[in-house]
């Protein structure tokens, strides 16, 4: 049963530190998404890729967040420098197309102190 794998599952860091979250999408999926879940805002889209090309990252704070897909098996979301307001659960999801169900990883819970 293919799954989206996210690492780490939990990350605690101090304000100002760099955080890198990784995602291995399901083999064969050509769309990859990064979402953030906070208590107040549900699932917030940060960025997405199709065939490894970034299509939209308008949901990300540009000055501190960056998302990349160095190859088809790895997507990364980086925060530098991190701030306490970045504390949330970050989900990666992959799919075949925009009209197909997304497969989510189990998330990275980030705590910035």
């Amino acid at each position: 049963d293919a799954r989206v794998t996210q690492t780490p599952r939990h990350k605690v860091t101090e304000m100002g530190q760099e955080v890198t979250m990784r995602c291995q999408p399901i083999l064969g999926h050509n769309t990859v998404f990064w979402y953030r879940q906070t208590m107040m805002q549900g699932l917030e889209l940060l960025a997405y890729f199709r065939n490894r090309a970034p299509l939209d990252d308008s949901g990300m704070p540009k000055d501190r967040f960056s998302a990349e897909m160095p190859d088809a098996t790895l997507a990364t979301l980086k925060i530098q420098p991190s701030e306490p307001r970045d504390s949330a659960v970050y989900f990666c999801a992959s799919g075949f197309s925009f009209n197909s169900p997304l497969h989510f990883g189990n998330g990275t819970r980030l705590t910035v102190t």
Partner: protein, 112 residues
């Protein structure tokens, strides 16, 4: 500007009864709609979907209804079971323009 709204943040229902979750959207160009279920400490999992050419889709205990004129989507779970206790998200898609939007979620509690 929230294009997709789930106006009920929570819902409590007795086991065996019907759970009805609602989702409203503003963009008439959305053409595919999905529901996901999320348990704590896990990612959302796909539950059921419907395209804009239909007004109903059924899968076991789960039925999704689409009212395009009202821009309204609903999920019916009947009969509700304690294992259905989770957060449910609706998602809307617009393939042309590559647009995906999630609602804010509804937490369902099914009481035994």
């Amino acid at each position: 500007d929230q294009q997709v709204k789930q106006n009920s943040p929570s819902l409590s229902v007795q086991e065996g009864r019907i759970s009805i979750l609602n989702c409203d959207y503003t963009n008439s160009m959305f053409d595919y709609f999905l529901w996901y279920k999320k348990y704590p400490a896990e990612g959302p999992t796909f539950l059921i979907s419907i395209s804009s050419i239909k007004d109903k889709n059924e899968d076991g205990r789960f039925t999704v209804f689409l009212n395009k004129s009202a821009k309204h989507l609903s999920l019916h779970i009947v009969p509700s079971q304690p294992g259905d206790s989770a957060v449910y998200f609706c998602e809307t898609c617009k393939a042309a323009g590559n647009k995906l939007t999630f609602g804010g979620g509804t937490r369902v509690l099914v009481k035994p």
